[in-house]
């Protein structure tokens, strides 16, 4: 009975989300507008609270299967939805965050032409993302996966007249495509060996071969910007701020991690794959935190912070803790989206200024926005009892008490302290100190369209951790006993990072400007990864491709396979047979003898 109600309310939510797409097709007078889409998502959020409450009450996992696509006589792909803890918790969170972002975007994109097209793109992205979340088989997941990739391309390159935005969108698509190789590899392996794409059938009693798991990890690397396939995430900041808030902080970039959560039963038995996840995540989180230390663009700092937290999520997957990873995804969505919205409000109020060296003393000019920025930064640092604490502190406790790679542990702890450092640097430069903005900027945040979403997300980032942990029972027992220093490790490291940031800020106020040194150059140019890869590989690929396509193929088909080749063959034959046609008696006698010997040898 409750199951039926659960499924029905779930389908109702999905229908409400699809309605702005379908209603203009059915009615002649209905026109979409930003406000209708925002209201639709708001309704969908309230609808999605029903299945979430029902699920928490009944704790029944449901797989709903409709229809079937009979691809081959033995291989059927149903349209199946999985209603379990992850999808039921993620729906309200994603819809809440999207509602706030869409409400903010009605103000942010007000001066744009084609706002309705922008909102429709965001809605299509949300539909693809929710398809990914609720998918029970790899096929539906792949549809959602590709959908979010394409919408990311369209949304990053929203201002398509700008060459940097086009380059960034292209980067996003190409890096995601490299990850898709891994996903398709694992899908092919699953179809060949287990003859199914359903996730619940993919757990076999024996160990899963490492190859599909490597494919899944490559897919997560591409989509969630782990080290090696990471440059697209900071470049994606070329898109408008609502796009950065929705896609590249809360929802799309967690799709890779979500894939690993969905398939964790395959990963759980393979220690190699888990160690790979752990080391990759640790490297990503430290690399991103190092790069964030020297950035001057507010959006880039938050982008690297996202990249670092994604690395932390990958570390948690490597510790075989999918539920804790999901908790971190949920809490991270709130405060990261809020950080982006606050930065968007700051940018618009300063008429497009994004450089934190040109901001200061905004605490007095934009009190609500900067207070919420502070709350978001505190949550990001893992301040006790805000949202980030529940997930981040637990992750670090698990790290300290598990059997794992020592270097991964050290890197993650170092990255946690760097998180505190760059967050505090951003806060100090943006909100405190003397004003470095031009004197004639008029700042105005009296519009409730700005303040309401930000305050809503601030409430979420304060309460979300507490609410989620109170109502969801953990599937694995958390470590209960540990020495005090292990228990307080996260706090101590964060405080060390804060002290470091305060020390450095007093240094910058009292000493001269920093000269270039090795570490500053490495950090501010993002580890030289971008120039090294983006110049070397495309040059080689494109020029070799051009050479093969035009020179080699032309040379071979038009020349060697055609007239010139024929001519070469003819000349070779002519040259070899010239000796026989020279007119010397010796050659004639020789050929006579050879032919008589051949005939005689065949007769004997």
């Amino acid at each position: 009975m409750e199951t039926t109600l659960l499924i029905t309310s779930m389908l109702l939510t999905l229908t409400v989300i699809l309605s702005p797409m379908l209603l203009p097709l059915l009615s002649e007078t209905f026109k979409n507008s930003p406000t209708t889409i925002t209201h639709a998502i708001k309704t969908a959020f309230f609808c999605s609270l029903v299945p979430m409450t029902l699920f928490i009450h009944s704790n029944t996992n449901v797989i709903v299967s409709y229809w079937e696509w009979k691809l081959a006589p033995n291989f059927k792909i149903p349209l199946s939805f999985k209603i379990d803890q992850y999808s039921m918790m993620f729906f309200p969170i994603a819809l809440f965050v999207t509602w706030s972002i869409l409400q903010f975007a009605t103000w942010y994109m007000a001066t744009e032409p084609y706002t309705t097209k922008f909102f429709s793109y965001l809605l299509m992205f949300l539909i693809a993302m929710l398809t990914l979340i609720i998918a029970n088989n790899m096929f539906l997941l792949f549809i959602g996966w590709e959908g979010v990739g394409i919408m990311s391309f369209l949304l990053i390159g929203w201002w398509q007249g700008r060459a940097e935005a086009n380059t960034a969108a292209l980067q996003a698509v190409l890096y995601n495509r490299i990850g898709d190789i891994g996903l398709i590899l694992s899908m092919a392996w699953l179809a060949l060996t287990l003859n199914t794409w359903e996730l619940q059938q993919a757990s076999s009693p024996t160990q899963i071969h490492t190859l599909p798991l490597l494919g899944l990890i490559l897919a997560a690397m591409g989509k969630s910007a782990q080290f090696g396939l990471h440059p697209w995430l900071p470049a994606a900041m070329e898109g408008p701020t609502p796009v950065s808030a929705l896609l590249h902080s809360s929802t799309m970039v967690v799709a890779g991690i979500f894939l690993l959560i969905r398939t964790h039963h395959m990963l759980a038995s393979n220690q190699t794959a888990l160690t790979l996840c752990l080391c990759l995540g640790a490297l990503s989180t430290l690399f991103a935190a190092t790069c964030a230390l020297t950035q001057n663009d507010i959006k880039k700092i938050i982008a690297f912070s996202t990249s670092s937290q994604l690395g932390l999520m990958m570390v948690t997957i490597g510790l075989n803790l999918p539920q804790l990873t999901f908790l971190h995804i949920s809490t991270h969505a709130f405060f990261k989206a809020m950080l982006f919205l606050c930065s968007g409000s700051i940018i618009h109020n300063l008429s497009g200024e994004q450089d934190i060296r040109k901001m200061g003393n905004l605490q007095k000019m934009l009190p609500t926005t900067t207070s919420c920025l502070t709350i978001g930064n505190l949550a990001l640092m893992g301040t006790p009892f805000l949202a980030g604490f529940y997930s981040k502190d637990l992750i670090i406790e698990h790290l300290n008490t598990s059997y794992l790679n020592t270097w991964a542990l050290l890197l993650t702890l170092l990255a946690t302290s760097f998180t505190a450092t760059y967050t505090l640097r951003m806060t100090l430069l943006v909100q405190t100190g003397f004003t470095r903005t031009p004197a004639t900027t008029s700042t105005n945040e009296s519009n409730p369209t700005i303040t309401n979403p930000i305050i809503r997300l601030a409430l979420g980032s304060i309460l979300a951790g507490l609410l989620i942990t109170s109502y969801i029972t953990p599937s694995k027992t958390p470590p209960m006993t540990m020495p005090t220093i292990t228990k307080t490790a996260a706090i101590i490291i964060t405080i060390l990072g804060i002290i470091m940031a305060l020390e450095l800020s007093t240094l910058t106020h009292t000493m001269t400007s920093p000269k270039q040194n090795i570490y500053l150059n490495f950090s501010s140019t993002l580890g030289y990864f971008n120039p090294l890869t983006h110049r070397f590989f495309p040059t080689k690929l494109l020029s070799n491709g051009q050479k093969i396509a035009s020179h080699l193929i032309d040379l071979s088909w038009y020349k060697k396979m055609g007239p010139e080749g024929l001519a070469d063959l003819q000349t070779m034959v002519a040259k070899t047979s010239t000796t026989i046609h020279s007119g010397l008696i010796k050659t004639y006698l020789g050929t006579f003898a050879l032919s008589i010997l051949t005939i005689l040898s065949t007769q004997i």
């Binding site: 007249g161 060459a163 086009n166 380059t167 292209l170 160690t275 080391c279 490297l283 008490t401 598990s402 059997y403 794992l404 790679n405 020592t406 270097w407 991964a408 542990l409 540990m482 090795i518 150059n521 490495f522 140019t525 580890g527 030289y528 990864f529 120039p531 090294l532 983006h534 110049r535 495309p538 040059t539 494109l542 020029s543 051009q546 050479k547 035009s550 020179h551 032309d554 040379l555």
Partner: protein, 157 residues
Amino acid sequence: SELSKDLMPGPYPRTPEERAAAAKKYNMRVEDYEPYPDDGFGYGDYPKLPDKSFHERDPWYQWDQPDVRHNWGEPMHWDFDMYIRNRVDTSPTPVPWHTMRKHFLIFLSTMLIMFGLGEIYPSYRPVGPKQYPFNDLYLERGGDPNKEPPVVTHYEI
């Protein structure tokens, strides 16, 4: 309609007059004109322009086509589709190339070596073998009750 025969690219220029004619055809000065070497790859008399991408051209100059930073009639590079602003950037980097490569490889190799070391020496909570009471459970494990049980020393952690 198409270009006339004398405006299309032609064979490799051998005499100075052919070079001058080719330079005029491609709208270049004779001093600047340098064809690709004649090694059978089919470049013909197409000029060999310096391998510089459009990122390096002045963003503030009033180009005829500002988005590609190109003027009308200017000869295009053979690989021009590689050098547009969405693709390869050949502008000079603040740090020289070999320094960048060296620093990045040092970083990457340090990380990989340390990860390897971390695998050999992992971190874990201190553990010890389990200690059982009653002389290591001598009687429960089927020991002879008449004989003297072996002495077992326990340690307190």
